[in-house]
Every structure is written in structure tokens, then in C-alpha cells.
Amino acid sequence: MDRARLLAAQAGEPVVTLARSHTTVSVERATLRLAGLAGADHDGEPWVNHLVDAVRRQVGLEHGVALPVWDALSGGQARDLLTLAQRAAAGSASFRLPTGQDRASAGAAAAGAIGAGISRIDAQRRRREGLIAELGDAPRTPWIYLIVATGDIDEDIPQAQAAAREGADVIAVIRSTGQSLLDYVPEGATHEGFAGTYATQENFRLMRAALDETSRELGRYVRLTNYASGLCMPEIAALAGLERLDMMLNDSMYGILFRDINPIRTFVDQRFSRQIHARAGIIINTGEDNYLTTADAVDAAHTVTVSQLLNEYFAKEAGLADWQLGLGHAFEIDPAVPQSFRLELAHALLARTLFPDAPLKWMPPTKHMTGDVFRGYLLDGFFNLAGALTGQGILLVGMMTEAVVTPFLSDRDLALQNVRYVLDAAGGLAEDFAPPRDGFIQTRARHVLDEAVDLLERITQQPAGLAPQGGGTAYPPLLAAIAEGTFGLMKRPPDRGKGLEGVVQRAEGEHGYLNPAIDLLEATAEGQRA
């Protein structure tokens, strides 16, 4: 196990170095959002996009957006950020890179404005802690996690409140299909989405307020979850911190592999978003279940372990603590495979043993849900039993109508009865359950761990400096491995993919890149690591 962690750190470290030497348009926009810039023009283009684009056109982003923006403000071009962004959109703001004393005062002004946003995040964290102390927490673990997805925030709210009353401890609002590929965050309360609801600051605020009301009614704090993924990962993370979301889906490689987002963009955005999550006391959920929906759950079991180890490394580097790591895995072995349940237990126990202090996120069967709802209900029961038996922290409720329809009211009720029956009947079974030494389960778990170590060794031994397109740039071995198609079936070279044009190398040295948000957040991460 120590060897696996060491290898994960070896694979991750050069990627962190890469992340520290780049910025992205979304990191810069998130920085402006922390300083309080919100809203959009009449076409729905956010002011943060206008301002970052204008700065980039005039002076580039190598030094970050903060210096030119607060220099323009102190130069009297506008009385506040919003007015400056509006002027920039109209083409009547001019930016320069301040030097000397001007640089120092622009940096200080920026730090003040951005620090106020970080203080708001801190206040929201204290408010969450206060509400939990006052109202009480979820009655037991695993926390019961239910999904709402109507596309209309006004429909989502009563559904989420009903789900909480039915016993959900965590409500997740699924995003509209395709939001991860939008290079801006939509504005306002939204009423139409494709198979989900857009993540916007206003939707976050409305849903959190509704769940606060329900939390009071129920006498327990109900958590809210959304997705910090895709091209706007850092901005969504900032909005989540500001609006007191409690958990965010945030995976280190999901966007690269499954959404063809540029790898460098992803790792830069991810580090910033995780630093915010760390500060905001948000629990991240990683996306390892996705590997098992595309590959065979037995053959690819070790890729889950490798991804969990990498996610852990990147998360801790960004300042997240063990209790914030909802590392993912899933119950996706073909039920026709002999001893499939014992194999599931072996995989779930391996994750539990590797990450004893993390609230693991346990995902229900989807791939082998056939439309036979009766058989599906039984499979979900076994999934719940495996969750109880292996002490999982967050249990996503499986629906017998998975792959058939959007769950009916009754499907959700039946699914919750299933969970409650299993947890009431066998909730304490983890205590009695110790698989025999060198038995089937232990042997299988060891085998998966060995395969994971082999894969990590292959990744770290990938010749560093391999540039897939034959260019002069040297990429970290992990990026070379991703380019070679080591994970999943996808080959994702570092010089391809969506959002690449939004990646900028930071200028170095004391006259170089400045981002007060990152400086403040780095301090949190330092404190956490120490």
C-alpha cells in the first residue's frame, strides 16, 4: 500500500508543477467572481468573460487578470468591477501591466477585494458548521444520496424537498447535458435544461435556501451537491463555496477521458477548484464509477484503485483533508459472473482499507440494469448490503428503473425502502465481517492492488519528455500515459482537446504572474499539509 501511494505521488508531482506554472481563462474568471463580479450582458455572456477576454486581448494573461484590472480601477477608469467590465465589453477600457509601485498597489487592492470573497466562503463554512451543530447531522452512515433532475429549478426544489423528507441526507442536482463543455457559467434561475438543470449561482442559492428550510423542518442538516467539472470547474467551485454547497463532484481525469477536455486545462483548473473546496469545507466526490461503465468491472478494477490514489494525491496537495475525499467506486460487475458479489465485496473492502478515513462514495449498478425492474430491485438490495458490509460513507440510491425512465415518485420511495431495510437489518454487520485470511476476498483484493501497482509503475516509467506530436515540449509521464490511452480506451494528448486555447503559461519571477486568490488559498493548503 505504501508503494502504491509513493508511485501515485511520483506520477502526480510533475503534473502539479505543470499546474503551478500555468493559468487558464476559467481560473482568472473565478478570481474575478471571488472579488464579487457577477451577472451577464443581455445576450447572457457573463461580465467575467468580457473582462478576462479584454485583458487577454490587450496585455495577455501571463501575469494574471488581477494586476491589469485593479490597475485600471485605481487609474480611475471605472468606479467598480462591474462598470469596468461593461466598459471593457464596449471596447472603451484600456489595460496595461503596472510595474514598480503601481504593481504593488494594484496587487494590494486586488488582494483586498478577493480576500473579501474568501471571507464570504469562510463565513459560509462556519454557517454550515453552525447549522449542523444546531439542527443535527444525518442520522447514520452511509449518507443516503438522491438525485434530482428536471431541468427547471422551480420543479427541482419541491422534488428535492420531498426527497429529503423521504430520507435523503444528500441531494444532488444533475446538470444539463453539455454544460461541462460551455466555456461560461450561465446566469440566473433557469427553467430549461437537457436531462438536468444548469448550474448557476442563482440556482445554487435558491436550492440551498429551500433545503435550509427543509433541514429546519426535519431537524437534520440536508446536504446539497453539484458538479465542479468541465471547462468552468474553477468558477463553479467558487460559486459553490460562496453559496454553501456541501459536496461537489470533482474528478482529476474524468473531463479529459470522457469529455475530451484538454489535459493541461483540466489539471490547472482542478488544482484551483480543489483549493477552494478545501477552504470551503466541501466534500469532493470523484468519478471512478465511470471507468466501470465503459470497461469490464473485473478486468478494470485496478484502474479504479489507480485513479483513487491519484485523486487522493492531487486532493491532498491542494489542501483537502481525508474527511473531504469522497473517493468513488461502483457495483458494476456482471451478475452472471460466478461469485460476482464476493468480487464486489473484495473491491469495496480494498477501497475501504486503502482509504480508512475517507467517506467513500458507493455507486449503484447501472450497466447491468436490464429493464427487468424486479431483478433490478434485487440487485440494488445486494448493492446496499455490500455498502453496509464494507462501511461506505456515501451511498447513491440505486433505482430499479435505471435505464428505463426518469424515476417515478414510487420508484424513489421503493428504492429508499430498500436502503432502509438493509441498513436497519444489517447496518452493524461491518463489525462482524472480517473475511478470512488468504481467503477468496483477501486474495482478490491483493491481486487488484498488485495490478494497480503494476499500472502505476508503467505510468511512472513512461519516458518523460515524450511529446506526442513531436514538438519540443516535455510532458510529465502521467500526461504521456494519458496520451497513450492508458486509462479507459481514450487517447488524450496534452496538445489536443477542448479548452486548450484557454491555457496560458504563467510569467515567472517577481515581476511575473500574480493571483491573490491562489496566494491566499496556497496558505490554506500549506496549513493543511503541515
Binding site: 447535458t177 469529455r259 415518485l409 414510487s410 477542448k498
Partner: protein, 268 residues
């Protein structure tokens, strides 16, 4: 007329044309349904459930389970005998004009029939920046529980993304040796989807020798069904299309095309 009737009678002797659901005895008509009514759970709600069951043709019907879901809803399980008869002679089945294949079958068919990967180039053309459609079909993430075309090992997918100019699309199709080109059009202001699509097909016909144009497929929520010929494309896919539909169609159409070509080569 009499001929046809005769045939039906001949059939009737071997297989029944009238069937009823089977519980545990032939002809008992027994079925089971479950549903939720927006009523608080009481005797009236159970009566309402029975009324619904009778109106659905269940007689006698038996409410075997009623459970409140919150204060305003009740869930029911009802068993009963359906008094409807199924007339097999009236059963018509609408088949799609190509078989729906699993990803495994698609890959196997490509390996067997082509012995190489098929190349699919996709894009949103014109000013359309809505990649939600093309990404749902191409990204491995997929749509409606089905993985996108990237998931198929025998398909080589090149997704050019949004706002691709037609000349760039043609160039990419040529350099990648595309077997099929998928374009997505969501924006329909001033018939932009029609203009963009006809512009695209014209450009392909100009750039390729006759008979060598890749399979051209257009997708979007507002294309008119059956307007393939007018737009110059081989196929249109509308709302709700899944990656599996598209993959199955591509294999079917490209196999047909290569078969026609083989015949042609033999005759030549």
C-alpha cells in the same frame, strides 16, 4: 379475398390468433400493475384505485397493496383479470430499416466486413455553437445510458467541435479518409440549419469524385423527417436519437454501399 381468408383459417388451426395474459391457468387473463394516485391513503383512495383498474379492463380486480408516499400520494399494487383479448391477426410491427446492433455487434460487423476501422468525422457547422447533440453522439460519455461512438473500438472518431467552416470540414474529411461525416445543427433561426446543410453537401459533391463522397449524416431537433433528398444527405436523425441508433445505421449503410461497389467492380 377468399384466398386470404382461407390462409387465416389454415393458420388458426395450428396457432391461436386470440390470446389472453397467462397467470397460472390458460385463459385466466391475470395481470399485475402498480401505480401512484395523487390522493392521501384512505378507503376512498383504494376505491379510486379499483375504479382505475376496472377502467383499464381489469375485472375482477384486487388491490393487494396500498401504501402512502408522503401525505399526498398513495402507491398501489393491483392484481386482476384483464377482459381484453389480443388478436394476433391485428398485430403489426413497425421495423426500422436497419437492425439495431449492440456496440459488440457493431465492432464485430466492422471487423468482419471491412477489416479496418471506420473513420467518422463530426462537427457543428456554421455559426452553431451548440455541441450538445454531436457530443451526445460522439463523446464516450454518450446519451440515454448509451456510450458515444468514441466507445466503439472499431470506429475512429474525429470530433471537430463547434463553428467549423465547411471547407475545413471537407479538408478534415479528406485528410482523415472519412467513411462518414456527421454534422449537427441545433440553431434554426432563418432556416440556418437547412442552408448550412445544403451548403455542406454541395461542397462535398464538388470536392469528391462521384460515388466517393463519404456517407453524409445530419442530426438536429428541427430537421423535417424524409427531407434527406432535398438536403442531399444520406440520413437525418432527429430528437431522441441515441449513439446506438447512429452506429447501427453507419454499419448498415456502409456495408450496403460496399456491397453495391463490389457488384459494380465485378461487372466492370
Amino acid at each position: 379475398m377468399s384466398n386470404r381468408k382461407h390462409l387465416t383459417e389454415a393458420q388458426r388451426r395450428t396457432t391461436p390468433t386470440i390470446v389472453r395474459p397467462y397467470g397460472d391457468t390458460t385463459g385466466d387473463g391475470m395481470i399485475q400493475v402498480s401505480f401512484t394516485l395523487p390522493l392521501p391513503h384512505d378507503k376512498r383512495a383504494e376505491g379510486a384505485a379499483l375504479q382505475l383498474a376496472r377502467k383499464m379492463g381489469m375485472d375482477p380486480a384486487l388491490v393487494v397493496h396500498a401504501k402512502p408516499i408522503g401525505p399526498d400520494f398513495t402507491f398501489f399494487v393491483v392484481y386482476g383479470s384483464s377482459n381484453h383479448l389480443v388478436d394476433l391477426s391485428q398485430v403489426t410491427v413497425q421495423e426500422r430499416d436497419y437492425p439495431l446492433l449492440t456496440p459488440y455487434e457493431v465492432n464485430a460487423a466492422i471487423r468482419e466486413r471491412f477489416g479496418r476501422k471506420l473513420v467518422v468525422v463530426g462537427a457543428c457547422i456554421g455559426t452553431d455553437a451548440h455541441t450538445v447533440g454531436i457530443d451526445a453522439i460522439l463523446n464516450i460519455k454518450g446519451f440515454a445510458g448509451e456510450k458515444g461512438l468514441e466507445y466503439y473500438t472499431e470506429l475512429d472518431v474525429v470530433n471537430l467541435g463547434a463553428q467549423v467552416l465547411v471547407p475545413d470540414l471537407v479538408r478534415a474529411a479528406r485528410s482523415e479518409h472519412a467513411d462518414a461525416v456527421l454534422i449537427s445543427q441545433v440553431v434554426t433561426q432563418k432556416d440556418a440549419h437547412i442552408h448550412n446543410t445544403t451548403h455542406m453537401t454541395a461542397a462535398f459533391r464538388e470536392a469528391y469524385p462521384a460515388g466517393a463522397v463519404p456517407l453524409l449524416v445530419a442530426g438536429g431537433p428541427r430537421f423535417e423527417e424524409g427531407s434527406e433528398a432535398r438536403l442531399g444527405v444520406d440520413r437525418i436523425f432527429g430528437r431522441g436519437t441515441t449513439p446506438g441508433d447512429v452506429a447501427s445505421y453507419l454499419v448498415h449503410a456502409l456495408v450496403q454501399r460496399s456491397t453495391r461497389k463490389d457488384h459494380h467492380d465485378q461487372h466492370a
